[in-house]
Symmetry: C2
């Protein structure tokens, strides 16, 4: 019996989900609804690689040895200190007859669920331990409820990976904006994006416009980012404010937004987002630095009647939607390509 | 110059809102739009009291000392570990001529904004450190944009305080259920409440039924609570599961819920709530022990297309709605009274 969420692969402790497990069973034989990937490259989470590199004083051999030790022991690349994993790319090797993922052998894919819950064995690697990208051979297992995207033939794989890494944000932004379209008093919702020049921010701006926003405001941290975003033309207005300063954010946004999207990866941005949002509006938090308590108590303390969403990284169709935005909106593509070559 | 959100009372760090502040100025002299309350009793947030009590192994004297130390140092009751506060009850002492709150000296009130943003000094207390209710004297300050409710004459003030403390939960639950009513395939949404025998849990159950839920399931931690909740008749089904065990929660709930309400004040309940919720459904997190990252990454890792709401403690009309539920639904009132006398 296989479980769609991979419970049958959990070795210890009993009863937890794969992400919470200490050890997974990474045997290559697949269940009827599983998929085996021939791994080509891991993309370690930035926080995980930094921790390992600092621990070993930049000694690449020691970093490589520890990654191999973790994967060998845990059956997954799950950094025990940072709790984070990363993603991988590879080629579909075998597909169980009852897999619902729609993959076929030979598809080149990126996994969109974390390495912290993906059974993995590494056979060999040429990695020097000095960067987040780990070229290697081996295999990984996808469950029925895993998510993987076929890499598009028309986009540079590095660009595609960078887009897929944040593809939940534009999909959820578009869904919220579409839900409000027509219901808002001014034809469509006004949308403000904090951290608008970054990866998830620029995609969210493009998604808001695509979904029918009546006006978009991009909030960025300095004039350099403002110039970049103005040049891209992705927002109707671009303003500069420190996202951690609630009063400054609200003043910069001006007329409150119907939807505020938080894409700034630093702590302390909850209150500015709430203050910048109209009564009855929605705040979507995508930053992993968001504090649940700060958001909940902040809205209460401001007597702010706003709907606050935890930015779920999974929305059906998210990968295809994000890649299509990059194809359709050349300014988004150029922003991403600029970051990749920086 | 006073600020409606209390910026003028922030001592450190500069520029943040009172809730994010490390220290507030709790001087008794009020500004033109402020109100001073003579404090009678604090009601500590459940997660905060639990953390303090566990830290000190149930030593009430040590718990009391730490609460007094926090309030003395920070100028507010803001637990630095849980990030949560609570609320207070008292009598209006002085009202600034420009206060918009509609209060007058002598009104007996409960504050509906968190203690984490309320300037507070404690003069003396008879508290034994063994419960969430802290009888004390001292003063607190309300800003122009604070929220306070005059205590109803027909309810025991301790009952009213306990109800008002969690009044955001039933109001938001009702709003979400009403928003889905008719849209759900089975007439009204199926609602599951984790921590259903507690204060916010029992009120949320009553609110879900009041708002048109097609079926309600109460999830509780043991048979004693199950017997209590079955006796109250607040839920169509009562099941026992450890809310931290995702597989057990999902199995106990059975047919996935359209709306899952999390009222369990312990960490680690995010994945169970997500697993117990149907695709397209909504999870409302009211517990201050909720981890933003665990919710966001958990849903992504499970490829769960669920809307996740940060439980905003402020919904217009929340105080009156919760008090009316207690008046209308005698079982809720009895559960609360049972807890108060326990």
């Amino acid at each position: 019996m296989t479980s769609p969420v991979g419970l049958h692969r959990v070795l210890a402790p009993a009863g937890v989900l794969p992400q919470a497990a200490e050890r997974l069973d990474a045997r290559p034989e697949i269940g009827v609804d599983e998929v085996r990937i021939a791994v080509e490259r891991l993309n370690l989470d930035a926080a995980s690689f930094r921790q390992l590199s600092e621990k070993h004083g930049g000694d690449g051999d020691a970093v490589r040895a520890e990654v191999l030790e973790i994967v060998g022991r845990r059956g997954k690349m799950h950094n025990p200190v940072t709790g984070s994993g990363g993603m991988l790319i590879g080629t579909v090797d075998e597909v169980g007859p009852e897999s619902p993922l729609g993959l076929k052998p030979g598809d080149r894919v990126a996994t969109l669920v974390s390495l912290t819950l993906t059974p993995l064995r590494i056979a060999a690697t040429t990695w020097d331990g000095r960067g987040e990208q780990v070229p290697c051979t081996g295999h990984a297992i996808l469950f029925a409820r895993s998510v993987a995207a076929v890499l598009p033939a028309d986009l540079d794989p590095r660009l595609a990976l960078a887009v897929l890494d944040v593809c939940g944000a534009p999909a959820l932004t578009a869904r919220v904006v579409r839900g409000l379209e027509g219901g808002a008093p001014h034809g469509g919702p006004r949308v403000a994006v904090l951290g608008a020049a970054g990866k998830s921010g620029s995609l969210s701006l493009a998604a808001a416009r695509d979904a029918g926003a009546a006006g978009t405001t991009g909030v960025v941290r300095d004039e350099a980012e403002a110039a970049l975003l103005r040049g891209a033309g992705l927002a109707d207005r671009v303003v500069v404010a420190d996202a951690r300063d609630p009063v400054a954010v609200a003043a910069a946004v001006g007329e409150p937004a119907d939807v505020t999207v938080v894409c700034v990866d630093v702590p302390g941005c909850e209150h500015g987002a709430i203050l910048a949002t109209a009564a009855g509006g929605t705040v979507i938090f995508f930053s992993m630095a968001t504090s649940f308590a700060a958001a909940a108590l902040g809205a209460e303390g401001l007597a702010a009647d706003v709907t606050m969403l935890v930015g779920n990284g999974y929305v059906p169709g998210h990968a295809g939607y994000a890649l299509d935005l990059v194809r359709k909106v050349s300014a988004v593509r150029e922003l991403f390509e600029g970051r990749l070559s920086a």
